[in-house]
């Protein structure tokens, strides 16, 4: 029994009155940024403030899918690097992130979708990211039980298969990054809610929290779906809508689904977790809200969509349903900004559906941005000002987009 003695991944630390850098949000993005600040850039006087517990928000509620088959070159490049980081971090953090490199299959239900797949596959191969267009027979071979007949309302015309993707255990990512960040001197404060942000008019000066005021030289807003609420404390308007997104799991089944699959037409994505559950989701309510309420009608929609694509799943029961927040931008690309309105204020938000898969790579570049003050080339496309210049990212043309605006 002694071998099972519990050991803390990191030790509690007192809340200091001042830190060089404060990061609001103890999710994948905040922890990854803190980890890279401390490990790569030697900035160790860093605090991560989390109002609940680490991984409470989107980091613990997503369906853990990772991939790099985005539409636009700037996004593909960014996510392709992110995909390579899971293996690196598993070693570096000495923590099993359970990266399951099973590949992703997007289903197309029209010739227009197939053309979009061909275009996307060319973009991917041009950038060195593996992706291939499959015919319906190949889709059925990849996903046993998939109904490729003309019975469904939207028959399957083919698919886009992306071998480098897969799923990662999202809790492990949060815990591993927290462990790694703390080992390099970062303070992680859970149950510390930010209620206001102080500035001297030109520079950020600190935050007012449920545990008192804390000063800082640099502040990163990395609060996921709550980033709009944090920005509002400074009166900052953003083109971001926080929407609830729902997900659910069935009871565990024997392993049979060896890839992530998704369908934009049926508004569904699904994978089999390492525990055997079918994890599935996609629905967003269109109206802005900060609740994480799940809905009965979506449970029904999801059951209908899954059974239509894969009739063998009929009568399999859902076990749990939950919801989280997605911070949606108008062009489905993120906003990574520095010195936003105030010197020393950084923003890492607007990830929408893609906050989990982008966590470590966003942390890497946000840490570089915060440490040097220079915007890294890799994230130059994700500036806020694109929305004021009518130069939106083309990411809404991605073949796997699911928004209610589809």
């Amino acid at each position: 029994m002694n071998r099972l003695k519990l050991r803390r991944l990191w030790s509690p630390t007192p809340l200091k009155r001042h830190y060089d850098t404060i990061i609001i949000g103890g999710g994948v993005h905040g922890l990854a940024t803190a980890y890279c600040l401390a490990r790569t850039h030697g900035i160790r006087d860093v605090a991560v403030l989390e109002s609940q517990y680490i991984g409470f928000g989107g980091s613990g509620r997503n369906t853990a899918i990772v991939r790099a088959n985005q539409r636009t070159p700037e996004n593909v490049r960014f996510y392709a690097e992110g995909l390579k980081l899971w293996r690196v971090l598993t070693d570096e953090l000495d923590f099993n992130l359970m990266f399951f490199n099973c590949g992703n299959l997007n289903l197309g239900h029209s010739e227009a979708a197939m053309n979009a797949f061909r275009l996307a596959a060319n973009t991917h191969s041009f950038l060195g990211v593996k992706s291939e267009v499959l015919d319906p027979q190949q889709c059925a071979e990849a996903i046993p039980g998939l109904d490729i007949s003309d019975r469904p309302a939207f028959p399957i015309h083919g698919g886009l298969f992306h071998p480098p993707g897969g799923i990662v255990r999202h809790d492990a990512v949060v815990w591993g990054l927290a462990k790694g960040a703390a080992a390099h001197g970062v303070h992680i404060h859970q149950g510390c809610e930010v209620r206001g942000i102080d500035t001297d008019g030109a520079r950020v000066a600190g935050v007012r929290t449920s545990l008192g005021r804390v000063g800082c030289n640099r502040l990163g807003i990395m609060a996921g779906g709550y980033s709009t609420a944090v920005a509002a404390m400074l009166g900052i308007e953003l083109p971001i809508h926080p929407l609830t997104i729902q997900a659910m799991v069935t009871l565990p089944l024997k392993p049979f689904l060896h890839h992530v699959f998704s369908s934009g037409a049926y508004h569904v994505y699904a994978n089999q977790t390492l525990k055997g559950e079918i994890a599935t989701g996609a629905h967003m309510d269109p109206q802005v809200n900060y609740t994480t309420d799940a809905t009965a009608y979506y449970l029904k929609h999801q059951a209908e969509a899954l059974v239509e694509l894969m009739p063998a799943l009929r009568r399999v029961r859902f076990m749990r349903i939950w919801a989280g927040l997605a911070d949606m931008t108008p062009d489905m690309a993120p906003i990574l900004e520095g010195n936003l309105g105030y010197d020393g204020l950084y923003l890492d938000a607007g990830w929408g559906y893609f906050g989990f898969k982008s966590g470590p790579v966003a942390g890497k570049y946000m840490a570089e941005y915060m440490a040097t003050g220079e915007r890294p080339e890799m994230i130059r496309a994700f500036q806020l000002k694109r929305f004021l210049e009518n130069r939106y990212s083309g990411e809404t043309a991605a073949v796997m987009k699911y928004g209610h605006w589809d």
Partner: protein, 106 residues
């Protein structure tokens, strides 16, 4: 979580009968002298406060008073599966509910 909105014609109806039409943005800015930046700010940029920051109001604060807090939103909704009217109502993003007395106006 399902809830009801107040249609000015049909009264309280299930949310699934309605289509969301976006936040009420006020009148379109006057065109002469309007910069691209001002225009796009009006189109896309919003402030969406969360739980009353300094007041410490939580997500459980479902009993928001009529008229609501400063962070309730005026929104357009379309009763597409009912009478077909476009109308405005007031909703609280902290509770996802229509603010009592906020709906039913054309």
């Amino acid at each position: 979580m399902t809830f009801r909105l107040t249609c000015p014609v049909c009264g309280k109806r299930d949310i699934r009968e309605f289509t969301f039409g976006g936040q009420e943005r006020g009148p379109r800015p006057e065109q002469p002298g309007l910069s691209a930046e001002e225009h796009f700010r009006w189109v896309q940029f919003r402030m969406i406060p969360g739980a009353g920051a300094e007041a410490g109001a939580g997500a459980e604060d479902a009993g928001a008073p009529a008229g609501g807090r400063a962070d309730t939103r005026r929104e357009w909704w379309y009763h597409g599966q009912g009478c077909g009217v476009w109308f405005r109502t007031t909703r609280d993003p902290m509770t996802n509910r229509e603010v009592e007395g906020g709906g039913g106006q054309g």
